[in-house]
Structure formats: C-alpha cells, structure tokens
Symmetry: C2
Subunit: 309 residues, 2 copies
C-alpha cells in the first residue's frame, strides 16, 4: 500500500468554450469534473499501474462530497481524507475550442483550523503504520503552517517509511531541510530553491540542503536524478505534443512505484519519463495513454553513471 497526501485536494472542473474573451459571456458547451490536486492524480496513476493506494488530505463542503463520491468509484484507491469545515477548492480549466489553449482559475482552498490540522497529523501517523511509501504533494491550504511538510517528512522518517516530497516555495525549502528520501522539483522550483538555473548544479545543491535524492523534471528534456547511487539523465525518445497537465504527477507515480518495486534507478527514471510523456499524449488532461506508455518505455534513453554522485 502506498499513501499519497494532498493537503489542498481539489475538484478539477474542465469547461469547453468556443473562445475565451475577457469581459464576455460564454456558454460552456461541456463540463467535466474529477478529483484533483497532485496527490490524487498520483494515486490514480498508481492504481492504473496496479498498486493499491490510500489517499489522505482534507475534504469539505459540497465539492469535497463530489470528490469523495468519485474516489469511491475508482478501483484501487482508498479514501482516507480527513473532514474539515471549509469547502474543498475548485480548480477550473477553461479550454478554448478554437486554439486548444487553457485558462486556469484556482480557488485558494478551505481555511484549515489548528484543531483540524492536529486531527490530520494524527490520522497521518496512524496511516503510516500500513504503507511502504508516502508522497506529500502540492500546495498548502490557508491555515496549514508553512513548515507542515517538514513535520510530515520527519514523522515518515521516524516511522521508517520512505517519503517523496513534491511541492514548491517555502514549504519545499523547509521540507528539504527535514531530509526527505526524494524531492521532485521542476526546473523553476529547483531554481527558486537553490538560486541556480544550471540543473546539474542545482540538483547537487538541493541534495546538500537535505534531500537524499533529487529528481528534477525538465519538461521536454526529461528527468535529471542526483541520487546516493549515482546521477542519471532520462530523456523521452522525441518531443511529445499535447496537454502537459498532470505530467509531473505521472512522473511521481513512476518514481514511487519504482521505489516500492525496488527497481534500479535507471528503470525508475525510464518508467517516470514514459508515464509523463504518455500523459502529455493522452486526450484527457491527467490521464495517460497506456499503449503509448508501453511503447515509449523501451525507448527512453538513460545516460549517467553509478559513481558520479
């Protein structure tokens, strides 16, 4: 069992409109809704890969009920979200039919009280007892302390559970200092953390700040991993065109599944890159194209060496 934590879970709404014109009135031609927030996306991909996943974080209000109803219909995903009095946020993607471009509107999320935050920490500690890995994903809702992930990393380490952290800004900075097993920043997040725009230098720097392994996602250039066993660069066979929404979450699912299956790093990275590319190629945002994944998997190039780190 893998655990994913999504402190700012969301109801992801996708609207299709002919063309978004500021200050105009638009008829939405198609509405879709699904559970969102990075950790829930990661869980969905893990479940498709055949892993059992428990999801936790917060849920509240009418939007939270919709998220939970949909999770109940997702095979392989167990709902352990903790109730809060505020409402789960909506994240709305408005897709232009003319251009395919997307405009994103993200609500801030519920304000979490200190009692609710304490209840979550207790639930989290108890969930750690039965899992082989945990991923801490995404932004923090209002009210949750900025050092939240640092605390959750320490709790996981104390419980002997490998922990992956995927967040940004100050929560990432503090989380890294708590010595997580893996962090997966993108290029911007890594530059913000380290001050360096050189990915190789920045991944090494992030390791010195406390992360055991740093896997930087470099968009079309694939993944760069600095690990205790070596440094590798995994690149997709060709530039893929499509919707990059959720590609980073699929990469996290690849890394986590590879971790619990004890794959060597090059194989984990190949899986993560192939899943990520197959997510860009899928017609629905955040889904992945299974056939494309399997085809891509053998064609990911992994370079590097096991003594470089």
């Amino acid at each position: 069992m893998i655990l994913t934590v999504t402190l700012n879970a969301a109801l992801d709404i996708t609207y299709r409109v002919r063309e978004l014109r500021p200050h105009g009135t638009h008829r939405v031609s198609e509405v879709t809704e699904r559970p969102g927030g990075k950790g829930l996306n990661v869980a969905r991909v893990l479940a498709v890969l055949g892993h059992e996943v428990t999801v936790t974080g917060f849920t509240g209000g009418a939007t939270g009920r919709v998220v939970q109803e949909q999770l109940a219909g997702t095979p392989g995903v167990l709902d352990a979200l903790v109730p809060v009095s505020g409402a789960t946020r909506r994240t709305t993607a408005v897709v232009d039919e003319l251009t395919g471009d997307t405009t994103q509107l993200n609500e801030p999320g519920p304000t979490v009280t200190s009692a609710e935050w304490s209840a979550f920490q207790e639930a989290y500690r108890s969930l750690l007892g039965g899992v082989s890995a945990v991923a801490l994903c995404g932004s923090l809702p209002p009210g949750v302390p900025v050092g939240a992930y640092a605390g959750l990393v320490r709790t996981a380490r104390a419980a002997g559970v490998p922990v992956l952290l995927d967040t940004s800004g100050e929560p990432l900075r503090r989380g890294v200092a708590a010595r997580p097993d893996i962090v997966k920043p993108n290029a911007d997040e890594l530059a913000e953390l380290t001050g360096s725009h050189d990915p190789l230098r920045a991944t090494q720097d992030a390791r010195r700040r406390g992360a055991r392994t740093v896997v930087a996602s470099l968009g079309a250039r694939g993944l760069l991993a600095a690990t205790p066993e070596g440094t590798w660069h995994a690149t997709p066979p060709a530039r893929v065109h499509g919707n990059p929404t959720g590609a980073g979450d699929s990469a996290v699912a690849g890394l986590l599944s590879g971790l619990v299956e004890r794959l060597p790093w090059p194989d984990r990275l190949a899986r993560a890159v192939a899943l990520s590319a197959a997510t860009v190629l899928a017609p629905a945002a955040g889904e992945f194209d299974r056939a494309a994944y399997e085809e891509l998997l053998g064609r990911v190039a992994v370079t590097g060496d096991a003594t470089a780190a």
Copy 2:
C-alpha cells in the same frame, strides 16, 4: 404568497482575480456562492420587500444541495424545487480587480427527462392553488420543451393566477402567444420578438401577439409599459453607475409586488425602476441598496396617459 419559477436555477459563483488573461493561470482571491437564476433573484428581492415567496424549478447534484442549503437560510423564501438526476448548473462571474469588468461562464444546466418535466408540471399545478401571482423566469435547461412556458402560462390562467413571463427567444415567442398577463422583455428581447427596434411600436406589437401588458426594460432609460389601462414611461432620476447584474430581476420583483398590492400602474413602474436602479448601485451583484431604493422611489419620473392604450 407569490410563486417564482426558475427552470434553470443556478449556483452563482463570483471569483475575484487580479486580471483575467486568456491562457494564464489565476489564483482566485475571493469566492462567493449564492442561489441564482432569474426567479431565485426575484424571490430574494420580494422577500426583502416583505412578501412571502415560494420558489420552484429544478434542483440536482451537489450544486443543487448548496442552492437549497442557502435558500433554507433565506427568511421569507420557501423552497419547493423539484429534484432531478442531473446537477444544477454553475454560473461563474470572474471579476477583474484591476478594471471591475466581469467575464461570465455559464454551464448549460442538467438534462431534464420527460418524467422529471411531468413531475414538475404536477408540482406547479398544485403550488398554483395557494398563490396570488406567479413569475416564470429565465432560460430552459436541456430536455425541457421549447413550448414549456406557453404551457405554464395556460395552466396559471386556467387556475386564475396572474402570470408574468420573463424569458427570451423562442420560449418567449411561444409564451406570449399563450396570453400571459405581463411580459418583461429588455430592448434586445423585444426587438427579437417583434422585429422592431422602436420600443413604443414593439411593445404595442407584443401586446397584439398576446401579452395583456408589456413592460419593456430599456436599461438606463427605465421602463416602458403598454397596458390595457394606458401607456407609461418611467425613468430613473439620473444615470446610475454600478453593476447591472440582477437589475432586470429587481424590476420584475417590483412589478409583481405592485401587482399583488394592487398598486396603480404608475406606482408599480416607479417601484420597479427604483428597485432596478438601487440594484445597479449596490456593491454586491443582484442585491439592492435599501436606502438608495427609498430615496430614488420618490424621484422616478412617470409620464404617459391612462387613455393612450
């Protein structure tokens, strides 16, 4: 008791963003939600004016539950919405903090089955037994026949209940032919119905098509009413600046309350114009500024004559 019908009720969501940029990602700084759809807006204004109102139409899904929870907290408004399997639509207004301009995203609404439409008609017939007037408001959700309002007008007339119709397009054209007591088109709706852009000629034409009274809302130029007792033009004392959302619904509330209080037409029109202007002036969309309403009421100019019609 007054009855308002909102076949395509909505959860009105207002987002504040710094500036809406197509294809950008936006953090929403403020989220508000309230029951929406013209008939629910009319009901809220009537309740503030001291009238008891029953609201009907359709409700479904998580959004419908939020609408009903909020209606339960609205004094003077009785919820008689009819459940459907689809979800109540969301209508989202995205307000630019920089300019104050609004971008509107409107979902189509639930698809209503013929069994649900039959259940509604039965509920409507039974509600008509206890009311002194009924307003039929807004667009039709998918699945409801285009002649729906014509049928509801005839049912009200057969029950001896005065009926006001506020819709547009083909549902208005068919509804007018069923001889409602009042229709309240705006200038565009009236021109579409009659083919004439001359408001006086068009209101007379709409009466010939079947409406007993036509009250045309002409925006800043106030209301033009063609009635069996005469023709009047009511104008606000000065051009008001603000958010016109809901101004037409407040005018309908003014006309309905004046009808059940048996006010003479000039007084009904003055009330409707003052409520409408006080709605434009209110900071929150669709609310009205009570003090402004009372101050404006005595200053609305009503011209016309009781023998012209």
